[in-house]
Each structure stands twice: as C-alpha cells, then as structure tokens.
Assembly symmetry: C2
Homo-oligomer: 419 residues x 2
Amino acid sequence: MGSIAELIKIIGQKARLASETLRIASTDQKNNALINIASQIQQNKQFILDANDLDLKAARENSIDDALLDRLMLNDERLDSVVEGLHQISTLVDPIGQISDFKERPSGIKIGKMMVPLGVIGMIYESRPNVTVDAAGLCIKSGNAIILRGGSEAINSNIAFYSCIERGLEEARLDPNSVQLIKVTDREAVTELVSASDYVDAIIPRGGKGLIKNISMNARMPVIKHLDGVCHTYLDKDADPQKGVDIAFNGKTRRYGVCNATETLLVHKDFDSEALSKLIELFIKKEVEIRGCEKSQMLSNVIKKATEDDWSEEYLAPILSMKIVDSVDEAISHINTYGSAHTDAIVTENNVNSKKFLSEVDSSSVMVNASTGFADGFEYGFGAEIGISTGKFHVRGPVGLEGLTSQKYIVMGDGQIRP
Amino acid sequence: MGSIAELIKIIGQKARLASETLRIASTDQKNNALINIASQIQQNKQFILDANDLDLKAARENSIDDALLDRLMLNDERLDSVVEGLHQISTLVDPIGQISDFKERPSGIKIGKMMVPLGVIGMIYESRPNVTVDAAGLCIKSGNAIILRGGSEAINSNIAFYSCIERGLEEARLDPNSVQLIKVTDREAVTELVSASDYVDAIIPRGGKGLIKNISMNARMPVIKHLDGVCHTYLDKDADPQKGVDIAFNGKTRRYGVCNATETLLVHKDFDSEALSKLIELFIKKEVEIRGCEKSQMLSNVIKKATEDDWSEEYLAPILSMKIVDSVDEAISHINTYGSAHTDAIVTENNVNSKKFLSEVDSSSVMVNASTGFADGFEYGFGAEIGISTGKFHVRGPVGLEGLTSQKYIVMGDGQIRP
C-alpha cells in the first residue's frame, strides 16, 4: 500500500515543481524541446519498434483482439506521423501569455484576459502508445507538467517513447520532470493519482467507458472526459442529394472504430428517394448492416428492425441504425434524446434549418454539409488532440493547446482607487 | 432520509426540463424576465423588507455577529441596487449563440465556436439575500436553470425574493422552474444537491472556507470555488510614490470584510521612503494594525512582529501584514507562495517589472497601478457576479455571464468528406 502512495506523492511533488518553471518558459525553449523529442524519436526508431515488439508479443500471448492489437502497433509510418505531430505543435502559436478582450472600463482601468497553463495534468490512457508523445507535446507547448499513466499492455513502447521525451526536455534545458511516466503497472497507481488533488489540477482519461466512469467517481479533481460518440447524420428534405449520399456514406464507413463515426442516419421523409436508394445500395455493397425504423424497413428487405437500444448504441462496427423523420425538429429531438453530445451533422441547403440545427443540437461539434469524420483536433487545426471532451465544463470537443489553458484577468490602471 | 432525497430529485428533474427550453429562449424573452423580476421587486419592497425583518429578528435572538447581520440586512438602498443589477444584466449582450474564432481549414470546412449554456447550476450560499437575485439574473440571461440553496438565516428574505422571480418568469412566459429555491433548511438538502450529478452540471458555493471545502469533497460534479482572498499590493522601487500610497491605502481600507481587500503590503527596499512614512501614518490614523517583517518594524515602533502565519492570513479586518523585499522577483515569489491566487497588484512605472509581474504572478486577477478593490464583476463590466473563482478550471476571477457558458464547435462545409 504505502509504497505506491508514496511514489505518486513524490511524482506529484516533482510535477508541481516542474510546472512552476515550465509555466514561465519561453516559447523557444518549449519549441526546442518538441523538436528535440522529435529528433530523438527519429534517431531511435528501431529501439522504439523493438520495445513495441515486446508489447505486441505479450499481447498476442494474452490473445488480445485484433482491434486492440492494431491500436497498440507501431511501425515506420506511425512513428513518422508522431514526429510530424510534434513538428506541427511546434509551429502553432504559443497560447500562453496571449491577451484577449482588452477593454477600458468607466473607472479608467483596462482589463484583459491572459492565457495561462492549468498546472499539472494527469493523463490516464489505454493501448495506443502514440498518446504518450501527443499528450506530452501538447502539455509542453501549453506550459503544463504532465503525469502519464498508459496501459500496462503498452508499457515497453511507452518507456521507449518516454526516454526520448526525457532527453528532448534535458537538451532544451527544461526540467525533465515536466513530463513523467508512471512505470508501475499496478492499478493502485491510478487510484492514487486521481486522489492526488494537491499536485494534480485536472485528470484526462482516454479509454473505454468503464475506465472513465470509474475515474469520474473517484477523482478528487476535475475530469476532462472523453466518452462515447453516438454521432448522427441527418439528411434534410432540402439536402443536395449527392452531398447527402457522400456525407452519410463517408461518416459511417471512413473508419468504423473511431468515436466520430456516424452511428445513426436520420432521413427526412421527403429526402430525394433515388439518392436514398443509392445510399442504401452503397451500404449493402460495403456490407454495412442497417437496422431501421418501420418506415426504413419498407425501403429494402435487408434492413433489419431497430430496437429501442439501437438508438443509443455506439457500434464502432459496420452497423448503422436508421430512422425516417417528419421534420428537422424531430431529428433534433432524436439527437438530443439518444445522442451522446459528441458530433452531429445536418445535410441541407436550407439556411433556416441549418441555423436551427446549429443552435438547438446540444453537442460538442455540430456540422452543416460536412462529414462527422472531421471532428478531430488535427482537422480543426490544433496540431494534435489530447482527447475529445464530451463534457460541457471547461472545454468541449477536440482538446488542443487552448483546452489545456486557463486564463487570468490582467488589469492596467494609472493609479485608480475604488470609491 | 427518503423524503429530502426525493424532493431534490424532483427539483433536479424540473430544472433539467426547464433548462431545455431556457437554453433556446430568445434574448427578448430572457430580458423581459429580468425586467419583470426587477419591477416585481420594486412593487413588493415592503413585503421583502418585512420578510427580511423576520430574519434579522431571528438572527439577533441567536446573537449572530455584526458582520453577518450587516450582510443579512436589506434596506431601500440595497433593494434599489438589486433592481439596478437586473436592469444592467438585461442590457448586456446575450452570450448564447455568439460565434467566435470562425476560420477556414485546408479541407475547406469552416469552424467556429458557439457559446451555449452549461445547463443546470446548483448555487449554495450563505447570509446575503441579494445573491438570490444576482445569481438568478445571471443564470436566466446565460440560459441556465438554477437551483438556489441559501442560508437558513436568510430563508424568509430569500422566499420573498423568490416569489418575485417566479412571477417575473411567468410573465415572460418562461418556465418558472428555470429558477428554483430549496425552501427546506435541512443540511441534508445540500448533501443531496451536490450528489445529484444527473440533474446538476456545476455547483457554485459561496460562503466560508468550511462550506466550500466540505462541498468540494462531496460534490459529484465540478465545483466553481469562491475561496479566500489573501491579496497583495506590491510597491516597486519604480513606483510613482503618490500612486503607491493611494493604491495601498485604498486596497486595504476601502472595505475590510471583502475578499478583494489587500491583506499584505510588499514594499521594495528602495521605494520612496517619505511616501512610505506617509502611508504608515495614514494606516495608524485609520487604526489599522500593522504586522511587519524585521525591516518593516524599523520604520515605526507601532509595527508589531509578523509571524509566519500572518503571511497566509485573510484578516477581513483592520489588520495588515507588511514585508520589505529586495526585488520584484522576491515579491512575486512571496505572492505565489503565500497568496491565495485571488488578486494581486503592483505599483510601478517600470514596464519590464509590470510585464514580469503580470506574467509570473499566478492569480485570478493581476493588476498594475490599480487598487485590488477593483476585482469585482461589476467593475469588470459583467453587470453582476455569481462569485469570484479562485480555481483555474473552466473559469477564473469574477464570474459573470460568460463564465456560465460552455461552447460547442460549429462546422460548415459544402459536402466535404474526410479521406
């Protein structure tokens, strides 16, 4: 018991201390660290791939499923994109110290908001080892110390990445404790980390629903949750038929296992019927199973009957639920009832309907005439993302540099006193 | 047990339902509600004052101290300022639906952030009954439902205010459950409210340290903390001497019992010595007790010796701690060590030092050449404030309309699909 608690306390204290210097580090220093880490990874590709092999071998021995093996696996191309991600983060504008909303008040004082780091982030994640580098990179650039706790199945890959991070920080003359990796794979380390509210300012869990619920229940500090994506595409009566087909098909089939994949297709009863037939054909050819409402079932005899549970299911698989609706209001109400407030899209050329959809759908990303597949930090221009927040508190949607900052008010006077 | 839990659940369900309509209410409807509530209060002044008399009488019977009695007391003037506050909030720009940071991405999609309400706020506060109206007003305008839980000592005043709020909402054809007041004064209601994470999106406690710590430990949802204010004024060597005297004196003596009062005066060893003598004289005349470091004690024999505890004490009284420092760095380090990250001011004409102070002091408000007394939602132009957040998460500093919102990403495409 005592020893893991003590370990996390020491890690926490070091992180807090490191955050004090990282907070005021110059943009150049932080960018240097990112570039150094990138070149360390470049130079040590084989070392990292060897470590990854150990993880893959162990995973196969534990008969882990293919989807997880795929997430765990590194290769030359994936390492290149990790390196590319770091370079991109280094070219982004440093948010720290930026001042916005500067205005003068009747008293003569001037007030603005200055962006500042949150402090220390605790990151708990599973399988994908590249998260180690993405998260470290975003935290370094945003001036936050980070404590990483990856999945035990990726421990060797994470340790290999971490040695690159450590060296990159040292070369940039930044405290290597700015990024720390918890190397013990004991579950108790997570429990201790989420209780260490004296040292950790926010927890970001990234993984299955079970992990996130468990952390939310036990954490003593705010949690930026990355929950499930039950995303919808709605084809309005005033949709351009071809856009409707393309966007719905891409939203569902681009990748099945990602959180921004469309899981439910909503179709206005007056949407172009030829286009709809074509879309259904495309899905059938692609071997996507469709589970529909009664009206949908009349469109094709391969469409199975959807149960009530289907409407809130995140399939992460070639399965799509489908419903015919009478109006944009019914579509919005369905989304707000069954969706997970992640990402939802409308296809329409009707400005009134798109405006209504944008205002009333209460999701982290709401799209008009674009595929739900775009909900992603990279596509939004954040360089990388540390997760997609489905909560409304602090930050929502893809979380990049800005989501890792807070602000302070700065007040400029000329001797003003308050009556 | 069961009945209070059941009551809070019902209140929570009603709030959640009301939040769904308030979320998409028009600006006019929300402003009408504010103006209606204001005129209800105007018309029912005597009714409210009579209710307040009941509270004051009970408080005196319980021999409650003068400071608390003062916070509890309403009078004509205070009611006028409550009414004025509502009118001000009604004139502020509606944050909901506002879009910022709209930009085009290489894929051709356009992305912006739209402000949205948080949902349902749980507000737990003590004594001051005007918080009932301020909090309700800010939440209505920002499209949030609110559940109010005021102190038992103000229950009659709060019920009187609440009846005005209810009628004001009804007249504006808004769900009166948009604002609800918990009328049972049982402590269990607080415990239930902070556990009702299915219905409440954020808790805002406003009161003593004990209340806030207790809530933070037990809450199942994010807490916007309004903690203590150990505020500093630092007189730099390059300060304008007269501004230094004015700002330090005003910061400490404007009002003693407020969280933005200066509690510690830091003075550079080369600050104008005549001005410092004058300042000390002013404090002595005003009967402010000074507790200083060794060097300060050499300036006047009425200056008592400060103990280590004094540096982190929020006096809320005519007591001031004082320390002579060798540099702006020492001042910053003292503030970051002993302060409560609320509000800190530097007085200087030296741009390098003011920039350094602004960047490195890690507080919710950092000021240059202005009195700490300005840290206030009204002074910052927010109309009113629901509290001053000393946390870094979600919102920091005075919390007005914007602090009660979240954002969502809106994405506009023209048929784009993601490769």
